[in-house]
Symmetry: D2
């Protein structure tokens, strides 16, 4: 059996979740792990049979046995670590974004390093591998609804994030809506050429202090002529609201929210159903496994990855345009020229 | 029993449908009917016991026994007939719009006549009385979802209209989206202050010849700070798609499409359900009855009507703004000052 | 236009509902109506243009202009009136049962009179014309689920009936389950050959005083080898519960309960839907219209009726068997030989 | 952390599935595994770090480090191995049944050995831990539907089993319906006192050759006065059909089938949904984990198990009664006296 020899960088909550998923895949051999606070989880890792541990990711990158690295560190380290990993000749899995800098030069520098090294890079746009959205995507591709004309995405978080966390990971547009821009572009198989966005603090006015918003409504124009509508909220009291609808010349596809219950309670007042799954950990659990599976398959079979570096640049451009649209009150064009040619 | 003494003007397809509904209400007495082609349906009307028939609506308006007129004539006659009815001192039910002229002066002249006459005027914004949307509306008003923050409306026709019909009744924005503007404003209980719209001919490019569009996506700003998203299409192959969603600080309300079937067929391929109701006649059948019922109640009990003249002006202003937004590519402010003060 | 010249006997609550439905059908001319308390509704009837009224149904039956009678009188009069109507040579619509006497000789005497007269008789098994069940029925007939193997019927009333009403119309088996026996037989297109029933008073023990039950569970054997399961309850706090499921070699068809609302309320506790329609008047409203329509068509086109006299006899035999099964604790055979040959 | 020191006996397909689940639980230490064909999976086990392997379960049972055994061997070995495990003083998890012998003395002998040894025994009635059914169960217990009056269970396999497999694991009643008898009794919290069953070969007549059936419909009487209805089929072309409904004085609870898709495809013909999950491996995946979790918790916290030996005896008695009912055509009483007192 062909195997990936993997190094994992970053073992916070997300990293550990991904590690558990990777451990179930027989064609991945975890060679070494790195975390700046490795001592906190050292014993646990030993119990899992992962004894080659380091605090220094450079040490891991210089390990010749490793051909692939999974980067689960905080967002502000991506630029540095992905670049170093590329230069070390490793295939790379990394969460978006590639850089906290909204000017895309930073991201493009990273991608140039990846290109120069000739390694594979998959971006963690996990929703592309969510079974619900994947089903919609495949049916759209298979022509089940004819020519796509309108995509609608509703994406609502269950609750506000702490301000300091937002400052570390990016605000609504760059951390949250980013996924929706990517999903919209992915579903329509076409680039976004224009964004008009309305956004504000309808839930927590103090978000203005950190230049963030909690509610968003926007319209997209796609290169192929189609339109998109996205609405976001930071607090949906009923849980994590993640829906996609694609309308086309021959029909419509809808992915509704996911619940873990099919139970219906009929009483003298109404019929009660259970709420949707509460958070991304539950909703996108299968997606997190599937994106890893897809990445491993891409490497072992030398096939294109599910989400590449360009995809994160394109989503970032849309986010920048949305930001500027909110600030100026005017629609903003989005550059669709392919960089790094 | 208090009774309305009614005259009906216009007995085309819509008029006959409304007439049948009115016939079932014991507190309406049909005194006289008028239609320019009255001879075509004279016998049928006689069979229903309606023998006082005329080709000339002026004759009907001068009938002193009549206190209320229902106007079901073609859109281009509304301005003239509503004005004449007001001057004749009759209460008036009329479909939107009040004038084919997009400059609102024409509509305001009509409303001034209504105001001067001191009569009641109800606009046929039938969707306000659709049981599904009404349920959402009442739950929003009752605070079931806290403060409304986002309203989303999807409204799709089952198929394209003939070009000549469009030229008589108005294009997508003024005939179709008009209802959505009204619904958005009604649900949010707040005026629309800004519209940004993208629209085009994704289905039938020849619509450009008559300056119309078939596909629309837009974002609204409301006076109370909330946002709205509307998408329209002229051809949904699966039927008449009419959905509303209101999201608020304490929850969400969705009105899904209506089907007349609860039957599920499970076979070796999938589960099949019946499509939504095919057209407005089926979907809004209860709404057409309910709006008449509401109008009659308003008159008999001297209560406010469900949709008044101002409402059609406000919806028209949004349509004008959307038109200009599509033409200019820029968001457009909507005047919310109350005219006729 | 061919027209039926109709007489209506019995104008209590059910009769008036049916009358309103009949009034909307242009190919029915209401010639005369009869009710023992005709004076109570005489004015109302006049207002509807029905002026030929009588207290004596014999007078109506002797009216030569009438070719068809609709009998909506109380159950205990069916035997007498149907017989008289047949002898008068009128086509007959009548609710089940044909006789309060559980010994079927009484019913067969009625049917013999109908047969001798050569008139049409349609039994008011309205559920056969319910759009949901009709859809299932037609899909079964069209082979959509292959060979039917199991039918399941759940039928629950919203609340207990007064004891004196039960004594007039028959207990659970003969008034309520009767419909389910007919539906089971209709769906399977096969006679019931055996019944095993468990029944008791789980809701109202005082029903024992009038020899009735409120809860029932039973298993059926059909002539074609298939099985059936029926469960009944007199009190479902969530409304009128009417479901049918047919399982076959190539799939399954389910008709779920009908609600008049598609609105979903998502809050921090759960998702709330509206309850099913509360009572038979709402649930079977379209069925009541459709069965009349079908009867009129049968007469005008000389086609078989939707539910004939034999059907009520067969359902009655199943009810008698169920009764005996509950009393003896043993399964009971049901005679399927066709009477009156 | 308290840990269970576990031995696993039987590593066929089911055993390996359970092993994978157990491996994810940190409070279970797999000390040793046994399988008569251990050489076939030895390498795979080594790769999982399980190196203490044996062909002889007696060796495992005599391992003093082991306190708990999980028995996943074929049904015909349960009687022998459970008895031996009990005599060795181990806590035991075992799938139903405890004996292939339909006379319950065999099962009772096993349970006597368990009782004498004072060890815990949990029966693999996995559906008790299915999240859907568990939700219904807990809501029933919490009084959400008042007094339960009727339980309905539909349980259909996706396809026929090979005859030789049936002969090894038991026919429909003893292998398949057994779960439904247990579920019915569990939901109603009351013993089954009578069974009337109709069963036959509506799908595969050659099943008669091995004295089995493929279709079943039955009615249950419970000790508390309630009723039950169960229907089974061996071949549902649309997948694994597993539904439970409990009706009570204050409402109804339904657990519908589980699908892994929320995607709806609307086209010009109908609306398409994905079929239910295809087989028990998918549908009951969370239940298999949850029953292990519950068993481990019961041992570590010395609490009652979720399904005990008595439960399998009671379900077996119902199966015996159903068998006899089908053979005799008569309802059969079920003894509810507690054995082994």
């Amino acid at each position: 059996m062909k195997q990936i020899h993997a190094g994992i960088i970053g073992l916070g909550r997300a990293g550990q979740m991904h590690l558990n998923n990777l451990m179930t895949m027989p064609d991945i051999k975890i060679v070494q792990v790195a975390d700046v606070f490795i001592e906190n989880i050292s014993e646990k890792l030993n119990g899992m049979g992962i004894t080659n541990q380091t605090r220094d990711y450079h040490e891991l990158l210089s390990n010749p046995e490793i051909d692939t690295v999974f980067i689960f560190t905080s967002t502000d380290t991506h630029e540095e670590i992905v670049t170093a990993a590329a230069k070390a000749g490793k295939n790379i899995f990394c969460e978006k974004p590639l850089s906290m800098n909204q000017h895309e030069e930073a991201s493009l520098n990273v991608l140039q390093a990846v290109k120069d090294a000739g390694v594979k890079l998959q971006i963690g746009f996990n929703r592309r591998m969510d079974p619900q959205f994947r089903n919609v995507y495949e049916n759209v591709r298979n022509g089940k609804i004819g020519t796509p004309q309108v995509v609608k995405i509703t994406s609502r978080d269950p609750d506000l994030l702490p301000h300091d966390l937002i400052q570390r990971i990016g605000g609504l547009l760059f951390d949250f809506t980013m996924h929706d821009f990517d999903m919209a572009r992915y579903m329509m198989n076409s680039n976004i050429t224009e964004v008009y966005a309305k956004g504000g603090t309808l839930i927590d006015p103090t978000l203005k202090d950190i230049n963030d918003i909690d509610t968003l409504a926007l319209v997209l124009q796609f290169e192929n002529g189609a339109y998109g509508l996205i609405d976001n909220s930071r607090r949906a009291v009923y849980g994590y609201d993640q829906r996609v609808e694609v309308f086309g010349s021959e029909g419509m596809l809808k992915a509704e929210n996911v619940s873990d219950s099919t139970v219906e309670l009929y009483n003298d007042k109404h019929v009660e159903l259970k709420k949707p799954l509460p958070m991304f950990q539950e909703r996108y659990k299968p997606a997190y496994v599937a994106e890893m599976r897809a990445f491993v398959n891409s490497i072992l079979n030398d096939e294109p990855v599910v989400a590449e570096g360009l995809d994160v640049v394109m989503a970032q451009r849309a986010a920048v345009a949305a930001q500027k649209s909110i600030e100026t009150g005017l629609p903003q064009k989005v550059d669709t020229t392919y960089p790094l040619n």
